[in-house]
Amino acid sequence: MSGLQRLHVVTGKGGTGKTTVAAALALALAADGRRTLLVEVEGRQGIAQLFETEPLPYEERRIASAPGGGDVFALAIDAEQALLDYLQMFYRMGSAGRALRRLGAIDFVTTIAPGLRDVLLTGKACEAARRQDKHGRHVYDAVVMDAPPTGRITRFLGVNAEVAGLAKAGPIHNHARSVMRVLTSARTAVHLVTLLEDMPVQETVDGVAELREAGLQVGAAVVNMVRPALMDEAELERAAADPAALAAALSAAGLGGASRGARAERLVAPLLRQAREHTERLALERTQRAALARLELPQYELPLLTEGVDLAGLYRLSGELGKQWPL
């Protein structure tokens, strides 16, 4: 396990694969007999869908075993529940808490102060990351959070400072400050998932700047859904220079006649057009890669699984991450 890192926050533009990458990372971190906790905070049951299990309750539950033995636990954190827990823990206010809930007060408090909601969510994740058993050993080797998207992440994590400011005294104030200490420490890293496309990369670049500005540690950039480069410009130019030779080769491979208008010959133009689109895309991807490289972050790549991500696919992605990422 590299250094002190215990809390891995995974963000990225919507739909780039935050949930998938967070799950793959939790699996990779659990390899060889370790134990990790994968948490989600947006009440969407994305983890349950991915692991093809029942909706997760507000309870840490084992959901998968990692290669080489090791366990991944999962938890869907719910802000209202977390607040009730918190009231119970510090004030033994189980029944009063329930009354507050009936009146809509809990909903009100967690809604009107979005910052408060966030501190409850991150607070729970930090608590799990720090939790120790009676022998003083960490209960989890790592906690991985499937976090809100890049556009909201700095606010979400940094918001604790805001809450600490809003609530000028009292237990929430203290709680927010202690959560903030964990989040800005070397034990926490924020990873960004991106695609090699204009908008996600732009968001990543902006997000990294914001996170750094807020004193949060940025870990890695994970480039997801990478498609293989099957032909480069030079190869394309060479091939395109002699369509007759292409027709002949296609014909030789049994795809029909090579003379003008014959089956193999008619394939040449559309195949070259596809290749042009391919190299054009590769060129755009190169500019995106260059923009990412300027961030000076470790960069890991995951392939596009054409058939979508099922459980087997998830393990495959986790294996890929494990190979590249010194965890």
Binding site: G14, R44, L87, Y91, M93, A96, A99, L100, L103, G104, A105, D107, F108, V109, T111, I112, A113, P114, G115, L166, A167, K168, G170, P171, I172, H173, D198, M199, Q202, L230, M231, E235, A239, D242, A244, A245, L246, A247, A248, A249, S251, A252, A253, G254, L255, G257, A258, S259, A262, L267, P270, L271, L272, Q274, A275, H278, L284, T306, E307, G308
Partner: protein
């Protein structure tokens, strides 16, 4: 049931129809809602309508090229429209829209008190649903101005397409909620019988919350709620009015999706929801669809042919060290005869031709696998909703960031022939 039998969406007819006053583009995040909205705006203007496009989160370069990257929260005319109509566009500034409502409904000092309250600030910047609510609000305002004969609305980048319809109500019911009423006017909310209990409840609650959050925080909340009180009713009434506007004839919804499982699942939810709420669905825009000009050649055959060529390439290179393997000889030799029959004088470039053709075939196989996957997902949607008219937009190799790109997308969107296939 497959997509090929689905009715075709005639987007030009929709845009040309003077009865069409509002077009709402919705769908899951990243599928191309903003692009579609902008492309339709360009198209409609170039066909003669006076259009305004309300975008929420355009890509930077797209916003720049339309001249709407400066945030002033009101529409500007887009230069470069080629045709009889006019195009205006704007990018929504959520906080500013919220501020404007406050300013319009509260007097000087009161407005200032609200705007400066820390709770207002966090609500206006971050409440889940504020963006959706403000998009609706802006739509209501644009419609009320009556300066355009067509309004095209993009929707916020929510995870779920339904958020756009649900969030305003959620904000409304939150602002109208029991607890807020208690905080603002405890006696009034309780009525005669409930008053005593509620007052006890209230003091216990404010006591608890005060302990938890610090007394000053609770005071901030109370001040905020009191100051907002008169606005709340207004919020809800306005949200309801805009919602009704969406149900009125003259409004059309376009659901945008990519041919992927998640996006189409969202699209299906949305279609069902529109039906339930009696909102008019014009059709589905299937965006970023892959095609092939050589679809008659299957992935399997292309791969097999590529392998044949690989083996041949090794033979041609004549490097005796590397054996081509016996399996390939048969096909290679028949292939050889075929070549000799049909072409002449390619001897010199044969090995480049072979390598090039093998690479082209591999690329094609990959493309065909994508196509097959997309077709399966699309067919699943079509089976669920065979009645929904569909149009397809090809995945362009680059992104869409200028008027020319928008015109290309619009051209594909409105084409009456299914491309490729």
């Amino acid at each position: 049931m497959s997509l090929d039998t689905a009715p075709r969406l005639d987007a030009d007819a929709l845009l040309d129809d003077p009865q069409t006053r509002i077009v709402v583009c919705c769908g899951a995040g990243g599928v191309g809602k903003t692009t579609t909205a902008a492309a339709l705006g360009v198209r409609a203007a170039e066909r003669g309508r006076r259009v305004v496009v309300l975008t929420i989160d355009p890509a930077k370069r797209l916003a720049q090229s339309m001249g709407i990257d400066a945030l002033d929260n009101s529409p500007r005319q887009v230069e470069g429209i080629e045709g009889p109509g006019e195009l205006y566009a704007m990018m929504l500034d959520m906080k500013r829209t919220f501020d404007e409502i406050v300013e319009a409904h509260a007097e000087g000092d009161r407005a200032r008190a609200i705007l400066e309250n820390p709770f207002y600030q966090s609500l206006s910047a971050g409440f889940a649903g504020t963006q959706e609510y403000m998009a609706m609000e802006k739509l209501g305002q644009l419609r009320a101005r009556d300066s355009w004969d067509l309004i095209i609305v993009d929707t916020p980048p929510s995870r779920s397409a339904l958020d756009f319809l649900d969030a305003p109500k959620r904000l409304g019911s939150f602002l109208d909620g029991r607890f807020i009423r208690l905080l603002t006017a405890p006696a009034k909310a309780g009525g005669r019988a409930g008053m005593k209990f509620l007052n006890v409840g209230m003091s216990m609650m404010t006591g608890t919350l005060g302990k938890l959050l610090g007394a000053s925080l609770l005071r901030d909340v109370q001040t905020f709620v009191a100051a907002m009180d008169t606005l709340f009713g207004g919020f809800r009434t306005r949200a309801e009015a805009t919602y009704r506007l969406l149900q009125a004839p003259g409004t059309a919804f376009l659901v945008v999706a990519t041919p992927e499982r998640d996006a189409l699942r969202e699209a299906a939810y949305f279609v069902e929801r529109l039906e339930a709420d009696r909102m008019p669905l014009a059709g589905l825009v299937l965006n970023r669809v892959h095609e092939s000009g050589a679809a008659q050649l299957s992935a399997e055959r292309a791969l097999a042919a590529a392998e044949t060529l690989d083996e041949r390439g090794v033979d041609d290179a004549g490097s005796g060290a590397k054996s081509a393997g016996a399996a390939g000889t048969d096909t290679a030799s028949t292939g050889g005869t075929d070549t000799a029959d049909t072409t002449g004088g390619t001897g010199g470039t044969d090995s480049t031709g072979t390598e090039g053709a093998a690479a082209l075939l591999r690329l094609h196989a990959e493309r065909m696998q994508v196509l097959a996957h997309e077709r399966r997902t699309r067919d699943r949607f079509a089976a669920l909703h065979p009645e929904v008219p569909v149009t397809q937009v090809t995945a362009l190799p680059g992104d869409v960031h200028d008027l020319a790109g928008l015109r290309d997308v619009a051209e594909l969107l409105t084409a009456q022939e299914a491309p490729g296939a």
